[in-house]
């Protein structure tokens, strides 16, 4: 029963989780902290446990949606299978949808309407990326106004003008943090 509940919960999160990452978190929180699933007597996790998972997700590589699915899948069932199940479930709905929509749009990419729509969307996407950056400019990421801002500026110059690979920058920034703090 627990596996079926887990499957359904994460299919739901994968299907209705628009907006990616942090927007998805509220949906995940609802399913694992607030809802008492069929056959259970209490929610899967306490709010404290959930907060810990978010912190762990932020410190681990990869998308936060995957991280939380893998972690919660294991914690709820106590088995690796639960982990695999939740991870697949969270990806499956969008995998199918994206394949279908991508195929349709790719076929019609020379259509007048499709062209017009995409040229209208492009400036919006630029704004979306900018907002992702703005949202991260918080106390959590910049605990002081000296060293952290310096790291950010140098990293920007290195990726934009020295054309260093972002992976290299993450590694260098990690070493810098270890040495500076």
């Amino acid at each position: 029963m627990i596996y079926i509940n887990l499957l359904i919960a994460y299919l739901k999160i994968g299907l209705f989780g628009f907006g990616g990452g942090y927007a998805m978190l509220s949906l995940i929180q609802h399913e694992v902290v607030e809802v008492i699933h069929h056959g259970d007597t209490q929610p899967w996790l306490t709010l404290q446990e959930f907060t810990d998972i978010v912190a762990i997700s932020q410190m681990s590589p990869g998308p936060i949606g995957i991280n939380s699915a893998t972690y919660i899948g294991y914690k709820v069932t106590g088995s690796v299978f639960g982990s695999i199940l939740a991870t697949i479930a969270v990806c499956l709905p969008s995998f199918i949808l994206v394949l279908i929509v991508g195929k349709i749009l790719l076929k019609r990419k020379d259509n007048k309407y499709v062209k017009s729509v995409f040229s209208a969307i492009r400036p919006v996407v630029v704004g979306m990326i900018a907002s992702a950056a703005l949202l991260l400019m918080n106390k959590e990421n910049f605990p002081d106004y000296t060293k952290s801002i310096a790291i950010c500026v140098v990293a920007f110059l290195l990726v934009r003008y020295a054309k260093l690979h972002p992976i290299l920058i993450v590694i260098l920034a990690g070493i810098t943090g270890y040495l500076l703090y």
């Binding site: 299907l15 989780g17 628009f18 990616g20 990452g21 942090y22 810990d52 932020q58 681990s60 590589p61 990869g62 998308p63 949606g65 995957i66 972690y71 294991y74 982990s83 709905p93 969008s94 995998f95 994206v98 394949l99 991508g102 195929k103 007048k112 309407y113 017009s116 729509v117 995409f118 209208a120 969307i121 492009r122 400036p123 919006v124 996407v125 630029v126 704004g127 979306m128 900018a130 907002s131 992702a132 950056a133 703005l134 949202l135 991260l136 400019m137 990421n141 950010c152 990293a155 990726v159 934009r160 972002p166 920058i169 993450v170 260098l172 920034a173 990690g174 810098t176 943090g177 500076l180």
Partner: protein, 188 residues
Amino acid sequence: MSNSISKTIINLFVTFFKIGAFTFGGGWVMIAMMEKDIVDKHKWFTKEEFIDNLAIAQSMPGILAVNMAVLVGNKMAKKWGAFLSALGTILPSFFVILTIAIFFTTINDNPIVERIFKGIRPAVVALIIAPVFTTAKAAKINLKNFWVPVATALLITFCGLSPIMFIALAIVYGVSRCYLNNKQTKTE
């Protein structure tokens, strides 16, 4: 399966695996990395294609980075390309998190880890700022349409509006603009 296709598929898997393994901070950082590898290095997408597909990936539910991997993989090597690109994106974080879930409970209390992440976090912000400039160029941002990305960014960030709403508005605008142009050329 022909040799060049299986080569492409392996290439896709390795590229997305690397991106999945080295991105801390979630989806948008992965998008920044993908731009570098997919557009600049492998030339799987042009800059315009990258933005268009990013709009599709963002408009769909689910995990942004996985959606983007599926779109790239599907273009280069159909279903198998899509599957292995998605798998490559997912696997690194799956293994890392599983290890943490099984063996540790309090990784965030480790002072050394905390110091390393104090350095990584601000750099990650820079990694997301960089593609704002490259995509702005590809989206042909000029003095006339400059207000669109600025307003979008400010309203999403400070009013908490959903990005999907802005994509929906752009779709309505794009369709009606095309419709009106058609009508105009017909009456002339």
